[in-house]
Every structure is written in C-alpha cells, then in structure tokens.
Symmetry: C2
Subunit: 266 residues, 2 copies
C-alpha cells in the first residue's frame, strides 16, 4: 500500500499560521478531518515557522489533531526537545521527520531516536549539500540505514528521502530521482522510500501537472510513500490510477470508490 | 523523440464519416491541420467503416490530406489492394497499419510489404487471439520481427504493438503491458514499440485519466510511439511532461513552448 503523508499542517502555510495565532481550533479540526477522509495515512505537523513559538504551537496543534483524527502523526521538527515532547503526546506510533547526515542534525537526532518505536524519514543530505548523482544517493542511503540500524531502528521503519532537485536547473534530475528510488529499493531491501514532490517543478509553470506526472513515474520505480496535499484531487487521482495500473487495486475497487466519491477528476 | 500518430481520421468516428459522406473537404483539412499543429508526427487514415466504400473513401481522404499537411501518413487498412493504391499516392515514407500473426492477415500483408520503403505496425495477435502473458508477447514480437526482416523490412522500421488489454478484466494487464514494452525494447534492440491506449480503461469510468497516466508509465518503460488523439490537450500535456521528466527536453524548451501555446493544461 502506498503511504500518503498529508503535508497541510505546516505553520509556513499562511492560513495554518493564522489559525495557530488566533487559536482557531475549528480550522485545524476541519483541515485534518478532510485530510483523513481524502486518504491520508499520516498527518504531518510542522510548527516551525513562528520563531520562538515552535514548542507551544506544536503542543497546541498535537492536542487538537489527536482529538480529531484516528490516523497517526508525522512529527516534523529538527529539534529533539520538541520531538521528545511530541512523542510523549501521541497515541499511535508516529513517523519522525527527519534525520539527515548533516553532522549537527545527526548528532541531535540520533540520541533522540535511539530505541524509539517510530518510523523515521531519513534525508540524503550531508554537510556538502544535496547529492550530486545516483551513486551519491545510494552511498548516503546506505550510511543512513547503517546508522539507524545501529541505534535499533529496524529497516522496515526507515523512509529514505533521496531529495528531489529541480529539473529546470538540470534536465537529468528527473531520471536521477527515479533511478535513485529504484536503486534504494533494490540495494536496501526492506527499506521504504519517501519524497516531497514539489522541488522537481521549481522554476517552471504548471507545476502541479509536473508533480503529479512525476509521482506516477516514481511509484513505478518503487516509491512507497509521499509527502503531499491529500486535498489536491488531481494528485490523488494520479496516485489511485497509478496504483490500479500497477496491479495494486484488486477488482479496481479503490479506483471505483474514488470515482464515486468524486475524487478521480481531471 | 516520442512519435505521435494522430488517430482522428477514422470513418468509425461519426463526424469523419459524415464529412466523407458529404464530401466536406474543409472538415478534413481543418482536422488534420489541427493535428499537425498539436504535434502529430503521422496522420493515421482509416476508411474502413463505410462497408463497400473503403477504397474510394481512402482515395478521397488521402488526396485532401496530402494537399494539407507536411507530415507523413499512417495508412490504416487490412486490405493490401487498398494499401497498394494508398502507397502509390503518398509523397512521404508512410507507416503501414498493420500486419499481425493471424494467418490470413499475415499472408495478405507480407507480399504487399515485401521490399517496401515504409514503417510497419506489427500487432502481437495470432489466430488464438490476444497474448496470454508477457512471455507470449515476447515470443510473438520475435516472430514478427523475424518475418518482417525476412522480407527486407529493417528492424528500425518495425513498430511492435504488444496489444493492451483492459485492466477491468484482469488487474495484472497494466503491468503485463508495461513489462511487455520494456521486454521488447530489451530483447529486440533497434525495434520500436507502439500502442493504442484506450483498451486499458475499457469498462471503467474516467477513462481519459487512466489512459494518460498509463501513457506516462509506458513511456518510462520505453514506449516510443502511440496512436492517440493529438487534440486531447490532457494526454499531450502528460506526454510532454513525461518527456521532460525523463530528460528528453533540453532546457525544458518543448515543455515551456507547450505552456505558452496553452497546451499544458489540467
């Protein structure tokens, strides 16, 4: 099953920031209810945008969201202290977003993650920046998996993000990302792959068409999770259609249910 | 470069049949002009629907279309006598649509094709019907290529159609078609693959979403030609976006040109 992490609860989004500032509980409840109804498997919660308020904003958001949805949460912060608080608040096994190979981030996150019961998003980023090529991604993915397995995070709980880069900068970046996903799935059996999609279309017009077409190609390459907006009907239509075309929808039941719910739209 | 064969000039389509019956030259001219402008590389011409009139209809259509477009034609008939006439009428090297492994069709088409200067669509169909599985497709593709090479059609002129079957009947048919395309491209280097897409979605709602998503997956698998409607903006948007994502659009120029022309739409 392809895993959808709903990306909407992020205080860098204007309406979410306003809701947090105004303590608008109903706005948050409505948003996450709709994300779950649209097929999200996790609700990502990122409270980083109001500088100096991350901890209180995260706490406020988690309390409301926990009361509202029955799906688990993806705790999105670089700060282990905030993650420790958040981890203590959630009812279900969360996803932690994220660790990377950047020295400072790794050293902050590894002690927090050690022995925790959670899924982990692991970014192929180090102190030299984004990966340069396919080989670089595979080498970084292996280092991340080794490091996480050493602190008792099993492979099935690891979601490697190969980090998608803009095709407008270098037209080989689409194929590099696709090959990276299939390479990680092959070289590290049992591990998951996850992507945010929107970087691919940075700097180009009609970005949503690019993002949703890219999602189909990445799914074919083996991607099994994505951080997306589940209320974007068109990307969800691409996702459900691709799952069906890849033979992962017996009797086309999920697709047909999506059509009846008005979710498979142009 | 991905090859688009424009499928619109087919007398089984009501408006085309009316235009042919009424000798409406302008309708045909407008349609093929628009197909070329939208990016078609061939105009398929099928005059089979008015029983007893195929030869005269084909002749009438070819004359008009030849005067109107500068791209080559795809001569679509099972009748070698009609194809011989049509072949004599075209200015540019045509595509012939099609030969198959059905005994009667093969024996009619092979003598016509022998030594001709043309591309050929070759269907993986034999007298037992559609291929049952991946191995079946590959075996048939090899027989078709062997047979055509024996009559001096070189491999680079052969477009194998693996024959897409409805996913509503068997959910493995999507993967079978995708694997078939990559298998043919790998096992028979130099050969081309071509598909009509619409069979995949037979019996399901929102067929166009399925067809265009499937096109992206097939292109990733190696498909290099499709028989489609170039005036369907959404399938052309999927095509151009996929070409860009696969690194076949330097500086994203074709994509950006498509956006400016209003062709990259949801």
């Amino acid at each position: 099953m392809f895993i959808v992490v709903g990306e909407r609860i992020n205080t860098s989004r204007k309406k979410v920031q306003e809701a947090v500032a105004n303590k608008d509980i109903q706005y948050i409840k409505d948003d996450v209810t709709r994300q779950q109804a649209a097929g999200a498997h996790y609700i990502d919660v990122n409270a980083g945008a109001r500088i100096g308020h991350e901890k209180e904003d995260m706490e406020w958001l988690l309390k409301i969201i926990q009361e509202t949805v029955t799906i688990p949460l993806c705790l999105d912060s670089p700060d282990p202290e905030i993650l420790e608080m958040a981890y203590g608040m959630v009812k279900d096994r969360p996803m932690i977003n994220s660790i990377s190979l950047e020295k400072e981030r790794y050293e902050a996150m590894a002690p927090f993650l050690k022995g925790k019961d959670c899924n982990v998003v692991a970014l192929c980023m180090d102190d030299t920046g984004m990966p340069k090529n396919f080989e670089d991604v595979i080498e970084r993915a292996k280092r991340l998996v080794k490091g996480l397995e050493d602190i008792a995070i099993d492979r099935e709980s690891i979601f490697i993000d190969p980090l998608i880069q803009p095709i407008s900068v270098d037209t080989s970046k689409g194929i590099m990302a696709i090959d990276s996903v299939s390479g990680i799935m092959k070289e590290l059996p049992g591990v998951h792959t996850i992507c945010g999609l929107s970087n691919i279309s940075y700097g180009l017009p009609q970005r949503k068409i690019i993002n949703r077409t890219f999602l189909s190609l990445l799914m074919y390459a083996g991607l099994d999770a994505a951080i997306i907006d589940p209320l974007d009907d068109k990307i969800m239509a691409a996702l459900k259609t691709t799952e069906m075309l890849m033979g992962n929808d017996d009797y086309c039941v999920k697709y047909l249910k999506g059509v009846r719910a008005g979710q498979i739209v142009f």
